[in-house]
Amino acid sequence: MAKPKVAFFKFSSCSGCQLSLLNLENYLLDILGAVEIPYFVMAQRTNLAGPYDIAFVEGSINTPRELEELKQIRKQSTKIIAFGTCANTGNVQSIKNFIGTQREMEERAGYTHFEDILSFPVKGIEHYIKVDGRILGCAPDLGEILEFLRCALLGINPAFLPHPVCNECKLKENVCLLLSKKQPCMGPVSAGGCGALCPSLNRQCEGCRGPAKDCNPAALARIFQYQLGLSREDIVRKFQKYAGETPEFRKGVEAVR
């Protein structure tokens, strides 16, 4: 059987997701033995055109050029995986969608030749194309990447559970930051899979993996407001950080409007 052709693409992002693949040091050689990598600009000079069996797409869509390239990738790939938070929900650069006008942004960032800058509101890739799978996280959990690759090679669906961070936090027997320590933790509405990494380190969840399935952000926003005494602005900042463009987190913002 021919090795599957796996390609890695990057749009507006930090390259951290691609680096995560290289961070699988102990498994990297095995992975390279099982797949063919025709396109991975960060790791190799010769990069080939499609078709590809699986395309991992990192990054959010921010310019007309990126949108055009994304559409080309869709045409050339059998399966497309939204790789990481940027590709799924836009990540922190999507904050710009909620503040000021484009021109103001450019002036604030100190750019002077405005004609040079092409940029539109930041979206995840699924806003524009059909996506066949998701790996969440900023940056993705290495165990999840490995599990995803293993399942892809076996041709089965990976058993990523849709539960929130809270489930994993309970399994680790952490003291609840929200209820016991009265900290504004986003765990109840945020997708798990990270192993409740931040709460396990005594730090509240910031929701970097985007919303969990069937979560209730409006209720959490009201808890922040009435039980923890957070200001409206603080609550909006919480929901408009990693995944402000998702319908779930919009509800969190609307609840305190």
């Binding site: 992002s13 951290g16 190799q44 922190v92 650069q93 604030r108 750019y111």
Partner: protein
């Protein structure tokens, strides 16, 4: 006759998206050497305004996946300076240990994964791994890189994005026993680090690389007491010597059309180089004894102005990172849990730390409620862009006899010497080569 143009539309084995455009006239004159980053802007400095100051170190590390830690520590320090936060000795030691781990991981990544394939004539480390003779080397390189990553996991919870480091300290500090285990692994890695210096020196000594010396200003942090990564004065080979928080008054930035990254020069002077070569040149005496000895053994003399020697500087730094990390672990000794403490107050602060690819500068102004009013971020690659273009302008005329594909490779290597990190710099690489 038309122009000869070397155009690399998307520079490989580098972080981010950028192009190289070189245009050579009919008589061999260089018409243009440009490094055009087309990585889209993400407007970090703008989105930071109106956020809480606690969020800035968290957002800052998302600027770059390859050097998130220096971005994090620069912003943390800038905010701490703005608000007058006092730190415990343990916090400072842990942060310094972190940056040493970062140098270890990132230098190993650049040396073996991004740069070495050029020097040994392979397309990528993937192709190198397919050669049974090189496979053991690749395996060892992977182990070394893993060690740096494991240090990040131990200290910050994750390889890339920090979790436990916040303003005022750490939400959770590592166990003493885990630090001791890391120390043993560091000791075991030393031998391969020394081999790496020899290997890097052998690669860089191949003709024609030793010919390409270009004197320019080298800028880095400097401290008398230790190899400065976390703090220190900003000094250069041309006599710059300023407190690091004063960087804005001495390093001038301008937006250049066609490149999404602003170009930098030293006030009243010219472009400059930041990164491992600058650090080793400016801080040779602060390197660990074994790192200095390793440098002598391969005849590395400071100041070294050949940019192709930067891989040797990186290897020397790996040796130092191991020694330095062992020393820091000894100094930390028994760890104790401390609650990060600070009080929000209005203020403005600036800070510089050394990313593996050079100085990483951040400034933040917060109001009395802890809301950010201004954020100034400049990544190391943005410092290097103009200098890299000047390298091309100087070296390309000497490469005119080469075929287009060879010339393209040399142009790419010239930029890869800087271990560019283009996502940061724009807050990207393509090579365009045109000749008659």
């Amino acid at each position: 006759m038309s122009d000869r143009r070397i155009f690399v539309d998307y520079l490989a084995r580098a972080e981010g998206e950028g192009a190289i455009d070189v245009v050579i006239g009919p008589n061999g004159e260089i018409k243009e050497t440009r490094w055009k980053m087309f990585e889209p802007m993400r407007f970090f400095e703008a989105i930071g305004i109106g956020r809480r100051c606690e969020e800035i170190p968290e957002i800052a590390q998302r600027i770059c996946g390859i050097c998130p830690h220096p971005h994090h520590f620069s912003t943390v320090q800038a905010i701490e300076r703005a608000m007058g936060v006092q730190l415990s000795e343990q916090t400072v030691l842990l942060r310094k240990l972190f940056l040493l781990g970062d140098v270890l991981q990132s230098n190993a990544l650049h040396l073996y994964f991004l740069a070495a394939p050029d020097f040994v004539g392979y397309d990528s480390v993937i192709a190198m791994a397919a050669n049974p003779e090189l496979l053991p080397l690749v395996k060892k390189a992977l182990e070394l890189k893993r060690l740096g990553n494991d240090m990040s996991v131990l200290l910050g919870g994750h390889e890339i994005m920090f979790r436990s480091s916040v303003i005022g300290g750490f939400t959770k500090v590592p166990e003493t026993s885990d630090l001791r285990k890391t120390k043993e692994r560091l000791k075991a890695a030393k031998e391969f680090a020394l081999e790496t210096v020899n290997l890097a020196a052998t690669l860089a000594a191949q003709p024609p690389y030793p010919e390409y010396t270009r004197k320019c200003e080298h800028v880095s942090l400097h401290s008398e007491d230790e190899y400065a990564l976390y703090d220190g004065r900003l000094i250069s080979t041309e006599g710059l010597d300023i407190p690091n928080w004063d960087y804005r008054h001495w390093i001038i930035e301008e937006h250049v059309p066609g490149c999404n990254c602003k170009h930098a020069t030293i006030k009243g002077r010219d472009s400059f180089l930041v990164g491992p070569l600058a650090r080793v040149n400016n801080n040779f005496r602060q390197l660990s004894a074994d790192a200095q000895a390793a440098a002598f053994s391969v005849n590395f003399k400071v100041p070294e102005f050949n940019p192709f020697m930067s891989i040797v500087a990186r290897a020397i730094e790996i040796v130092h990172a191991i020694d330095g990390a062992i020393e820091k672990i000894d100094q930390i000794g028994q760890t104790r849990q401390e609650e990060p403490r600070y009080q929000v107050q209005a203020g403005e602060g600036y800070a510089v730390t050394e990313a593996p690819r050079g100085i990483c500068c951040h400034g933040v102004r917060v109001d009395k409620n802890g809301i950010v009013e201004m954020w100034d971020a400049t990544a190391p690659t943005a410092r290097n862009v103009r200098n890299a273009e000047k390298d091309l302008a100087e070296f390309v005329p000497r490469w005119l006899h080469l075929s287009d594909s060879e010339l393209t490779l040399m142009c790419e290597m010239t930029l890869r010497n800087y271990d560019p990190c283009q996502s940061c710099a724009t807050h990207a690489f393509k090579v365009n080569l045109r000749r008659a």
